[in-house]
Symmetry: C2
Subunit: 324 residues, 2 copies
């Protein structure tokens, strides 16, 4: 598994180990954290390889004897800010995915699951978005993830790999993430630092689909077990969406704050390449037999409370030990 020290990857590793699988995690810890996998390290069925997927010589041996790859590593900075390097997603998503596909091919690995994203769709005229619309990504993150999907499709066909492409909704969960990475961690960090005022990127009407990390892991495993085509593509989320403005209210309420001034930066999207509003059509995964148990609002509310607990943020309290 790649990206196994990340929020979703470490949860997935834990579930795989609990069912008796042997798990090797490759992670460069650029955004993953050792603390996410600390509890797994003593397990004899678990092995952690700290390596950069751009440099195949650092990790190629780790694929010896592996029968399935879960590829979750990616550039986690979905946001693009003007002035940023424009090749980060090319490197961290496309080239890394090619390296991994090629190594998997050479190792004779026949099963490959990939964490893709609803960001591949861009601003779809069809809402909710089914898997078979023509994607038109508007971010470098979404564009390169679509490029990865395309390469996986070709590898699947050319080399007989069975592949699963999972297009994630926004995944939320208890693990604390860096400021600027998710709306929840942003709001919590920023309100802990300044409880009187909250800056909201965009006009607050952005509305997206949210899914809890543990449900995401469950869905990944469900799809891999139940979808039997050579190449399988599934949206992975619930069937609703939740506005950024409402998330601000949830976070403010959870922290027990009052009279918080909301400062909107304005505009449809929160940042260049942001898809302001979408809901996913999840009929395919539902028909396969899996359904999200929480609405987007329930998922975000749960994640806010979990994150506050994990980060040691109390109601109306300070953030004592923000783990960056």
């Amino acid at each position: 598994m790649t990206g196994g020290a990340g929020c979703i990857g470490s949860d997935l590793a834990e579930v795989l180990l609990s069912r008796g699988d042997r798990v090797r995690v490759i992670d460069n810890l650029s955004s993953g954290k050792v603390e996410h996998i600390e509890a797994l390290l003593p397990n004899p069925n678990f092995r952690f390889i700290e390596a950069d997927l751009l440099h195949r010589e650092q990790w190629d041996d780790a694929l010896d004897g592996v029968d399935m790859v879960y590829h979750l590593a990616a550039n986690p900075d979905v946001k693009f800010t003007l002035g940023d390097a424009t090749d980060k997603d090319l490197q961290q998503n496309l080239i890394v995915t090619y390296n991994l596909l090629e190594s998997a091919r050479e190792h004779g690995i026949r099963r490959f699951a990939f964490a893709s994203t609803s960001a591949i769709y861009g601003i779809s005229p069809v809402q909710p978005i089914p898997e078979n619309v023509s994607p038109r990504p508007i971010s470098l993150y979404g564009a390169t993830k679509l490029g990865c999907e395309a390469m996986i499709s070709a590898f699947s066909q050319l080399f007989g790999m069975q592949c699963w492409v999972l297009r994630f909704a926004n995944i939320v969960g208890p693990k604390v993430r860096k400021r600027g990475r998710t709306v929840i961690s942003d709001f919590l960090h920023n309100l802990a630092a300044n409880p009187g005022r909250l800056q909201i990127l965009g006009n607050g009407h952005q509305a997206k689909s949210y899914l809890l990390s543990n449900e995401c892991v469950e869905a990944i495993l469900y799809v891999v077990e139940h979808a039997h085509d050579p190449f399988n593509v599934f949206n992975l989320g619930g069937d609703d969406s939740l506005s950024v403005r409402r998330i601000a209210d949830i976070v403010i309420g959870a922290m027990g704050l009052e009279d918080v001034e909301l400062a909107f930066t304005g505009g449809e999207g929160g940042w260049p390449g942001d898809v302001p509003r979408f809901t996913l059509d999840v009929a395919a995964i539902n028909a396969l037999g899996w359904r999200a148990r929480h609405t987007s609002e329930e998922a975000v509310t749960t994640a806010v409370h979990q994150t506050m607990h994990a980060a040691g943020i109390s109601r109306a309290g300070e953030l004592p030990a923000c783990r960056q």
Copy 2:
């Protein structure tokens, strides 16, 4: 323009010059040929830069003062043979396209046209294939071209570039191409060498859409002039298809041969990643006001005769000077 010493690129350069444009061609001559642009070299409005698009320092200056990029360079080996390097398309299509987009962005170039391919669609359940189906490429060539499209879409949105993505049918024309690159050049070369027997990859039932190179150039310019969205995607071809078996008959007839034994290698596709049968839905480009003047059969017949003439192949004759 990139790939301007290629078959289509050199035709496009000629038309642009004839209407008074200044044209700079970047080509590494890996498949393009100086002879294709020899006639253009004395034109003061023409400049040729022999450079490798993977190495930006070799050509970056050539984008100074340019107001539009036509990006036609690509790995021309659509065919993939088991044992080939799997990263050629990644390098020559994806990384090259990123390099060019990034240079164009830094040079403030606001218009970008891209030669994409019907190979992005893979084996589409919808026939004829409209632009808005969900693509599922089965070749590395198609996969990386789709990845390029996705990056162009993101650059268009993020940096305000107006872009045209043109998904070409199979383009045929008079310029002699290397053996193994096109079905016409293959058949002509092979029959010139052995007039008694012709090997046909696959079962011969493969049927694709063909368009003459000069009509392709005309269509590119028409779409760029008439499609005004920030991001424009068009299939570029006619609305029919032609079987490989029928092409063999056309070539054999044109060469005046008789009693040629046809040896089929068998299988649905001609090579790994080949899309055996497709027709393009060209309603969008027709609605814009452009329509192919020749059917696929007429296009191939014309190209066969043009190629025989250019290569010096006479009826029932030998290939005296096959220019590789």
